[in-house]
C-alpha cells in the first residue's frame, strides 16, 4: 500500500496530460466536431513548448520560461486546430480525413522545426524541467484538476455550456433559437487545440528533457479513447483518464513489483485500448455520444 501511495506522484504526472487532452476532446465532441487530431496537436504543442523553453532558458530566463513555454505550446496547439475548425465547420469537410491530415502534418512539421532550429531530428535538451512541490507532485496535476472543474462548470452550469451541448445534439434546434452554431463550434475546436497543446507542453516539461518523434507516442489517441470510455461526461472522462494513465504508469514502474514482473510491460500499455474496445461493445446500442457528433451542419437543410 505504501508503495502505491509512493507511486501516486508519478501516476499523476502521467495522468494529467491525458486528462487535459481528453477534456478538450470532450468539449469538441460535445459541440459536434470529432477531433481525432488530438495526437498531432499534442505533438505540436510539445515541440513548441520544448523549443521555446530551450531558447528562453539559454537566454537566461529562469522559472518564468517554463510557464511561458506552456502558454506558447497551448497557443500553437490552438493555432493548428484552426485548420481543423475551418475544414470541419466552414467547409463541411470529412472530419476524420482532416484530423488524419493534421496528425500526418504534425509528424512532419515538428521534426522539421527541430531540424531548422537545432540541426537535429529532436529539440536540444533543456537543463531544468518543471519542479515538483513539497508532496512530490508536479503543478500539471493541479492544472488538470482545474481544467476538469472549469470544463464541468462551463458545460453544465452556464448558458454557454448548454448552448454548446445543444450544438452537438441538435444543431438545427439550436440554430432556430438563435444560437450561432458555427461560432460555438469554433470556440470548442479551438479549446480542444489549446488544451491538447498545453498537455503536450506538460508532457515535455515533466516527463522528458527534449521533444522527439516518440514523445507523444499514442497518448493523444488514449485521450480520444478516454472520451468515449468516459461517455462524454466530465466525471466519466476523468475516471477513464485516471484508469488509462495508471495503466501507462504501471508499464513503466511494474518492475518495482515482483508479482507483476512475470507479465511483459506491454500488457499494461495495451490495457487502455482493450478496455475501450470492450466498453464500446458492452455499451453498444445505448448511444452516449452527442447525436450530431461528427456531422457537418448545413444551415437550412433538415
Amino acid at each position: 500500500m505504501n508503495t502505491l501511495i509512493g507511486m501516486l506522484p508519478s501516476i499523476l504526472m502521467i495522468v494529467s496530460p491525458i486528462l487535459i487532452t481528453a477534456v478538450g476532446g470532450m468539449i469538441s465532441e460535445k459541440s459536434g466536431v470529432v477531433n481525432i487530431a488530438l495526437e498531432g496537436l499534442m505533438g505540436v504543442g510539445a515541440c513548441a513548448a520544448a523549443s521555446a523553453h530551450v531558447l528562453m532558458e539559454s537566454a537566461g530566463l529562469g522559472t518564468p520560461s517554463i510557464w511561458l513555454s506552456l502558454a506558447i505550446g497551448a497557443s500553437i496547439g490552438g493555432l493548428f486546430s484552426l485548420i481543423h475548425a475551418v475544414a470541419a465547420i466552414n467547409l463541411n469537410a470529412d472530419q476524420t480525413i482532416s484530423g488524419t491530415g493534421i496528425n500526418l502534418l504534425a509528424d512532419g512539421a515538428t521534426i522539421f522545426v527541430a531540424q531548422i532550429l537545432f540541426n537535429a531530428d529532436r529539440t536540444r535538451e533543456f537543463r531544468m524541467g518543471m519542479q515538483t512541490d513539497r508532496l512530490g507532485i508536479y503543478p500539471t496535476a493541479y492544472i488538470a484538476i482545474a481544467v476538469v472543474v472549469i470544463a464541468w462548470f462551463v458545460l453544465y452550469k452556464l448558458p454557454f455550456g448548454m448552448h454548446l451541448r445543444a450544438c452537438g445534439e441538435h444543431p438545427h434546434a439550436a440554430d432556430s433559437v438563435g444560437i450561432n452554431v458555427k461560432r460555438i463550434r469554433y470556440i470548442a475546436v479551438l479549446t480542444s487545440g489549446l488544451l491538447a497543446g498545453l498537455a503536450g507542453g506538460c508532457i515535455v516539461l515533466t516527463q522528458t528533457i527534449q521533444y522527439t518523434s516518440n514523445t507523444i507516442n499514442g497518448r493523444g489517441f488514449i485521450a480520444l479513447a478516454a472520451v468515449s470510455f468516459g461517455r462524454w461526461r466530465p466525471v466519466g472522462v476523468t475516471f477513464a483518464a485516471f484508469l488509462f494513465g495508471t495503466a501507462q504508469a504501471f508499464a513503466i514502474i511494474a518492475n518495482n513489483f515482483p508479482s507483476l514482473r512475470v507479465l511483459p510491460s506491454e500488457v499494461f500499455n495495451i490495457l487502455p485500448y482493450v478496455i475501450t474496445l470492450i466498453a464500446l461493445v458492452v455499451f453498444s446500442g445505448k448511444n452516449y455520444a452527442p447525436r450530431a457528433n461528427g456531422k457537418p451542419y448545413f444551415k437550412g437543410a433538415s
Binding site: L104, L105, F221, I270
Partner: protein
C-alpha cells in the same frame, strides 16, 4: 455568350472530375512545401533534384546515373500501394479504415514468426509466411468489421485502438522469437527471404524483390473484385447507400465484415513483404512504420481506384526514397511528411469545391431569372 457558357462548363467539369482534383491537391501540397523550404532559407531546387534522382536515378549535380534509385523507389512504393488498397477497399464499402497500420503490423509479425520458425523449404517457406501475413491482417481487419456490423462500434475508434494493440502484441510476440534483443531477432533463414537475384542484377543491387509481383497481383485482384464480381458490386452498393442495399437483398452485415477482412489482407500482405523483403532479421517494433497511416492518404489521392491508388503509391514511394538524398542536400527530410500531410488536409478542404459550385449555380440561376 456561347463561349462563356462553354468556359464555365469546362471549369465545372474540371472541378467535378476526381482525377483532376487529385492532381490539383498534390500540386498544391508541393507548392506549399516548396514555399516552406524557401522560407527557412534553403534552396527548393535541391529538393526537386533529390526527387528527380529518386525517380530516374540521374544525379543532376555530377551527371552520373545510378539505376539503383529506381529499384528502391519501386520497392518503397509496394507497401504504400498495398496499404492504400486496404484503405480503398474499405472506403468503397463506406468504411473509414484507419486500422491499416495495425493490420500491417499483424502481417509483419506473423511473417516474422513463420520466417524464423517455419519449415526451411525453398519457395514454400516464404509463400507460407506471406499467406500467414495476409491471414493475420484479414483477422485483424475482420474484428473491426464484426464489431461494426454486429455491435455498431464506430470503425474509426476501433481501428485506432487496434493499431496500438497490434503494436504491443507484436512486441510481446517478437520478444519471444529466437535471438531476440530489445530491437531485433536473429537473421531469417535464406528460404524465407523475398529477394530476387534478377531484379538485383538489373537494378544495381537495390532491395527490389518478389514483393513487387505480389503487389501487381494484389492490384489486379482489387480491380477484379471491385469492378467484375457480385461481391464488389454489393460492397459498392453498401458504400453508396446502406439502407437501399439492404432493401435490395444485399447482406450488409456480411458485406461489411468481408470487406474489412479483405482490406486487412492487403495491409497484412504489405507487412509480410516489408518484413521479408526489406529486412534480413525480425524487428521488435518500437513505434509505427506509418505505412498504414500513409495508406489513407494514398487511397484518398487515388480516389480508391486501382490505377489511382497505384499512381499515388508510387508518388509516396518516390518521396520516401528521396528523403535520404534531400538530407544529403541540406533539406530536412521531414518536408516530405509535411507535403504528405498537406495533401491530406487539402483533400479534406476539397469539400469547399462543392460549396463553390453550389454558389456558382445559385448565382447563375439568379442571373437567368433577372434577365428573363
Amino acid at each position: 455568350m456561347k463561349t462563356k457558357e462553354t468556359q464555365l462548363s469546362l471549369t465545372n467539369r474540371l472541378l467535378t472530375s476526381d482525377g483532376a482534383i487529385s492532381v490539383l491537391v498534390v500540386l498544391l501540397g508541393f507548392l506549399v512545401g516548396t514555399v516552406l523550404v524557401a522560407l527557412v532559407g534553403k534552396n527548393p531546387l535541391n529538393m526537386y533534384k533529390a526527387i528527380l534522382q529518386a525517380l530516374s536515378g540521374f544525379n543532376v549535380d555530377n551527371g552520373k546515373m545510378n539505376i539503383r534509385y529506381i529499384g528502391e523507389t519501386l520497392n518503397y512504393s509496394v507497401p504504400f500501394i498495398l496499404c492504400g488498397l486496404a484503405m480503398a477497399f474499405a472506403a468503397r464499402a463506406g468504411l473509414f479504415n484507419i486500422g491499416g497500420e495495425g493490420q500491417y503490423i499483424m502481417g509483419l509479425t506473423v511473417a516474422q514468426v513463420i520466417a524464423l520458425l517455419g519449415p526451411q523449404i525453398s519457395i514454400l517457406h516464404w509463400v507460407l509466411a506471406i499467406i500467414g501475413a495476409m491471414v493475420a491482417g484479414a483477422f485483424w481487419g475482420g474484428i473491426v468489421g464484426i464489431l461494426k456490423a454486429k455491435y455498431e462500434v464506430s470503425e474509426v475508434v476501433s481501428t485506432i485502438m487496434l493499431n496500438y494493440i497490434a503494436l504491443y502484441v507484436s512486441r510481446i510476440i517478437s520478444l519471444q522469437l529466437p535471438g531476440a534483443t530489445t530491437y531485433k531477432t536473429e537473421n531469417f533463414p535464406k528460404t524465407a527471404l523475398l529477394n530476387n537475384s534478377f531484379f538485383q542484377t538489373i537494378t544495381n543491387n537495390s532491395m527490389l524483390n518478389n514483393g513487387f509481383f505480389l503487389m501487381i497481383i494484389a492490384l489486379l485482384v482489387y480491380w477484379f473484385i471491385m469492378e467484375k464480381t457480385n461481391l464488389g458490386f454489393g460492397l459498392r452498393a453498401t458504400g453508396f447507400n446502406k439502407e437501399a442495399a439492404r432493401c435490395s437483398g444485399i447482406p450488409v452485415i456480411k458485406s461489411i465484415s468481408i470487406s474489412m477482412a479483405i482490406a486487412g489482407a492487403f495491409a497484412g500482405l504489405a507487412g509480410g513483404i516489408v518484413a521479408l523483403g526489406s529486412f534480413r532479421y525480425g524487428r521488435v517494433l518500437s513505434g509505427m512504420d506509418n505505412y498504414g497511416f500513409n495508406g489513407i492518404a494514398v487511397a484518398l489521392v487515388g480516389n480508391s481506384t486501382a490505377l489511382g491508388t497505384m499512381l499515388a503509391g508510387f508518388l509516396f514511394g518516390l518521396l520516401k526514397n528521396s528523403q535520404a538524398l534531400m538530407q544529403g542536400k541540406q533539406i530536412p527530410k521531414e518536408i516530405t511528411f509535411i507535403i504528405q500531410g498537406l495533401i491530406v488536409v487539402f483533400i479534406a478542404l476539397r469539400s469547399a469545391i462543392a460549396i463553390y459550385l453550389a454558389w456558382l449555380n445559385k448565382r447563375q440561376l439568379q442571373k437567368e431569372v433577372l434577365n428573363s
